[in-house]
Symmetry: none
């Protein structure tokens, strides 16, 4: 009834838990949540199937941790960059940098991005995690901009829209590869468009 989920205090246990999460991350990313079975996760993590349930209450629980890792991977470089922005803001540079950054993280996480987001559709807890992620991003930027003296109307909305555009392009860039699109041109278009929001 009150199953005890191991709180791994010892390093070895922490390592093992991490390994499982990472194995799950990789396999989910490749074939999706529903095409992955716990045996495969355990095998890839180099542990037994049984112990997986020592660290996680069920398969979905692993997923929740995978999402946390994903969110960390996606937001970490982002936070770092934002924290370093200084006045005066050269929006062209900033937007370009953010775009490149997003493209970079997307390159290695595009699949899982889609997979996780679709799971959010039917799982409110997952959905919540993504909302928080977006909130954090929006706030960290808009706060920073305010700090640096920018006093725009509808600032949060603009930041949100800007980030959506950037995400959207990064996604497109990694994935779709419509052959009639010149992606370098498209990149310029996006940057210019986003910059226009703030100038």
């Amino acid at each position: 009834m009150d199953k005890k989920i191991r709180q791994p205090k010892q390093d070895r246990a922490k390592d093992k838990k991490k390994k499982i999460i990472e194995a799950a991350y990789d396999i989910f990313s490749e074939v999706g949540f529903y095409n992955t079975n716990t045996t495969d996760i355990a095998k890839k993590a180099g542990v037994s199937t049984g112990i997986v349930y020592g660290y996680f209450s069920d398969k979905r629980d692993i997923l929740l941790y995978v999402i946390d890792i994903y969110i960390e991977k996606v937001s970490e470089p982002f936070k770092k960059y934002v924290s370093k922005i200084t006045a005066p803001i050269d929006f062209n540079n900033v937007v370009t940098d953010l775009l490149n950054l997003t493209m970079e993280t997307h390159k290695s996480n595009a699949n899982i991005h889609n997979i996780l987001h679709s799971l959010a559709v039917t799982d409110t807890e997952i959905n919540q995690k993504f909302l928080v992620l977006e909130d954090n991003i929006t706030f960290s930027i808009s706060d920073k901009l305010k700090d640096l003296g920018l006093c725009a109307d509808s600032l949060k909305e603009k930041v949100h829209v800007a980030m959506n555009s950037i995400q959207s392009f990064a996604h497109e860039y990694v994935y779709d590869k419509h052959d009639y699109i010149d992606y370098e041109k498209m990149k310029s278009v996006v940057i210019q468009m986003v910059v226009s929001l703030f100038e």
Copy 2:
């Protein structure tokens, strides 16, 4: 070996096939492809499980048809609108209309949108269908604009970016409901931003 999939020529058969697809559409939309079983689809469609395999080769085959329906639902109102655009183009109006249109279709199809897109990650045939959809949208608009005398640089790229932004907003609007966002303001921001691409 050569399983016979009924090609429903008679109206009753067509109806039945359609009913199954629609039942699947609804259930996939609610709980996702993997959490839906064929029995549920059949039950909701008001048919037996057996006959489902008279009309579809397997569960994924139903999915393929669901995608087609989705694509039709999404593109039909769109095509209709685009065909009616006339010179001189008032970009503010056009973008606003497209945004409203997209929001409308998203309202009833947002869930399945995410679900289907995530399946595209691991299924090239599905992915292909979405690429074609996007191609069609981009081309139909950029062709129309050319017809109406617009001679912009990077036209296809701009159209693509514009549509991404619109989609992105519509999706956000239907789903996320960050409470610190004023969505009406955000809508204006998006419209203005998209319009700026063409003026």
Copy 3:
């Protein structure tokens, strides 16, 4: 409850029933009873699945008729030959002829022979049919021999053994093809052995 199995009096109906039996015969022969479905039988017979149940009570009922056909195919040329044996009996000739005859019928019926016999294992009615077949063969020969003046001890037993040996060789010949066996030599061995029973 009291399903009416059509007693086909009209020729067309008889034809149709025969066609179904023959179709079943062929498919059973190729892939066995359990790997054959009624749809395939109907298709091969050029009739609808529904009408199959107009002529037969169920799938096993078709099988019963198939067995009858098989038995007829196997015994007909045999009966014909036996009826023509005249005194004085040249056992060498008779055995050779019977062997050739059996090989001939086996050539086109070896598969179904095995398939039907295995069904006899779990179906007494089928088993009964084969017993009767063997009885008939044994009696027809032993009666003939008696008629022609042969007064051997254990005649029925000898005839039975003789026929078993002949069947066995025919089966072997058609099927097994052990490459280290010279089947022409083996044939002589069998003939000589069987003849020895009666001389």
Copy 4:
């Protein structure tokens, strides 16, 4: 993709695999392969349905092992006897012994014999197993006879024919029970006939 079939090294696992095979053996023997379902096999073996697939790749895989058991059961006493034959050969004794032996093994394996043989019709791997079995029997005897100084023409052919006759009688004896046949008389006839091949 690469399903793991347990290679049971520990005794308990070996036992369990054996139990499943034996359960399958018994049920196949009673009602045939196609009338047996995995649930029944598991139940009879006292295991869960799931674990059956831990030991076997699929239902047919169980069958393959059943055949191996059958072949072992059939050939083991045979090999043992043949190895003990010494010169000078009393053919009457040897044939009688072989006949009794074959009757003995047939008594408990007659059903499965037929069932397995009919599956060989549509499955080459199974067919191959039986060919090898027959080869082994023929060779072991003919080699033995040669070793003991017998120099007959067409030795392999004779041995093959002899064994066929013995098999055939044993089968008949166990199964058919034509009431007009005196099986003891028939047995003498067979023995004499077979002996005649070698003297």
